[in-house]
């Protein structure tokens, strides 16, 4: 049970840590001050969620690893995030597509976990759920605005959705560890999450006059450490300071 819980907490933490790092890359690069602050807020929300999951994971593991050790001391194959969150920012359509697909997953995820049997996890999820609902409002607003905007914004938004689509199924990849927690009413059922996620996606893409991709290919494997070529580069930039100057502090 504790081994499965540790795995699950690392998956939750890694999803948020890596998407926070990706959004953080955009800070100071957005074309408007307003959007710059918006991506910084998104990034910091995800970072805060990652810290809470990592801290709990470190306690469950009981090996003395804190949030920093888990975020900065593990290598690529030890990261269990879904491959979706490590995908490059690309243009704003691509970034928005990735964020929307993540948000549409995290809202039902956190709502389910908040009602779960593990009190500590439920508490973290209850706080995160409020943030996720705001994120979904922000990202789905942009999907509709760009999709139902000009020819150029429609083309880019559709391209962003198409690019991210094959990686989204990894959010719902499950294994024995998750099934064990699901039986104990601690984890969320990925099949149920996927149903709600698909309904949200169909609704928003419909309002955005965008097509739901029909590509049946699904790139999974992130949950067991099999990543795309991008994660190593993300970790290199994210971890170099900690690895070069262990224990450095502000």
């Amino acid at each position: 049970m504790s081994s499965a819980l540790l795995t699950y907490l690392l998956r939750l933490g890694d999803d948020n840590m890596i998407v926070a790092q990706r959004l953080g890359e955009l800070v100071s690069w957005m074309p408007e001050l307003e959007e710059d602050i918006a991506v910084a807020n998104l990034s910091l929300d995800h970072l805060g969620q990652a810290r809470a999951f990592y801290t709990y994971a470190g306690e469950v593991e009981g090996a003395g690893r804190d949030e920093d050790a888990l975020a900065m001391g593990r290598s690529e194959r030890e990261f269990n995030n879904a491959v979706l969150v490590e995908q490059p920012n690309g243009d704003f359509g691509q970034t928005t597509a990735r964020q929307f697909l993540v948000d549409a997953y995290q809202v039902p995820l956190y709502r389910t976990l908040a009602a779960g049997a593990d009190e500590r996890l439920a508490g973290i999820a209850a706080k995160a759920e409020k943030e996720a609902r705001y994120h979904l409002r922000y990202s789905s607003g942009w999907v509709v605005r760009l999709g139902d905007g000009t020819d150029e914004s429609h083309r880019r938004m559709q391209a962003g959705i198409d690019t991210m689509w094959v990686f989204a199924a990894d959010l719902f990849a499950s294994d024995a560890a998750e099934e064990e927690l699901l039986a104990a009413d601690v984890a969320a059922d990925p099949d149920v999450l996927r149903t709600e996620w698909a309904a949200t996606v169909a609704d928003v893409l419909g309002r955005a006059t965008l097509d739901v991709p029909t590509d049946p290919y699904e790139r999974t494997g992130g949950r067991i450490g099999l990543h795309t070529e991008h994660l190593g580069h993300v970790l290199t930039e994210m971890q170099w300071l900690h690895r070069s100057h262990a224990g450095a502090a502000w």
Binding site: P31, E32, L33, I37
Partner: protein, 110 residues
Amino acid sequence: MSYDAPRIEGEVDPEIEGTRGGMPLWEVFVRAARGLNHVHAGSVHAADAESAILAARDVYTRRSEGVSIWVVPSTAIHASDPNEQDAFFEGDHPYRHPTFYEIPEEVGQM
């Protein structure tokens, strides 16, 4: 809040009327607590009212400054002319203040 972004070949950035080559400007009013008035906090650039509210939330309520936000298109604000300030505001009308009048003692406390 706009600058000349690098363009890819063939990319166009149509000028939107009433903007500085970017997104329209919105005035932001934030209410700090129930019972208080919405007070002007600043302005944001945003494509539409919904995103103006989200931008205002991110920019002006980062530290729990508010419980309610209004946004108004800046073009809807009509202002007095600063060059007419003297004609508008500088009249000498002391008798419009209640303290101008002396209350006869017979009146007593008002």
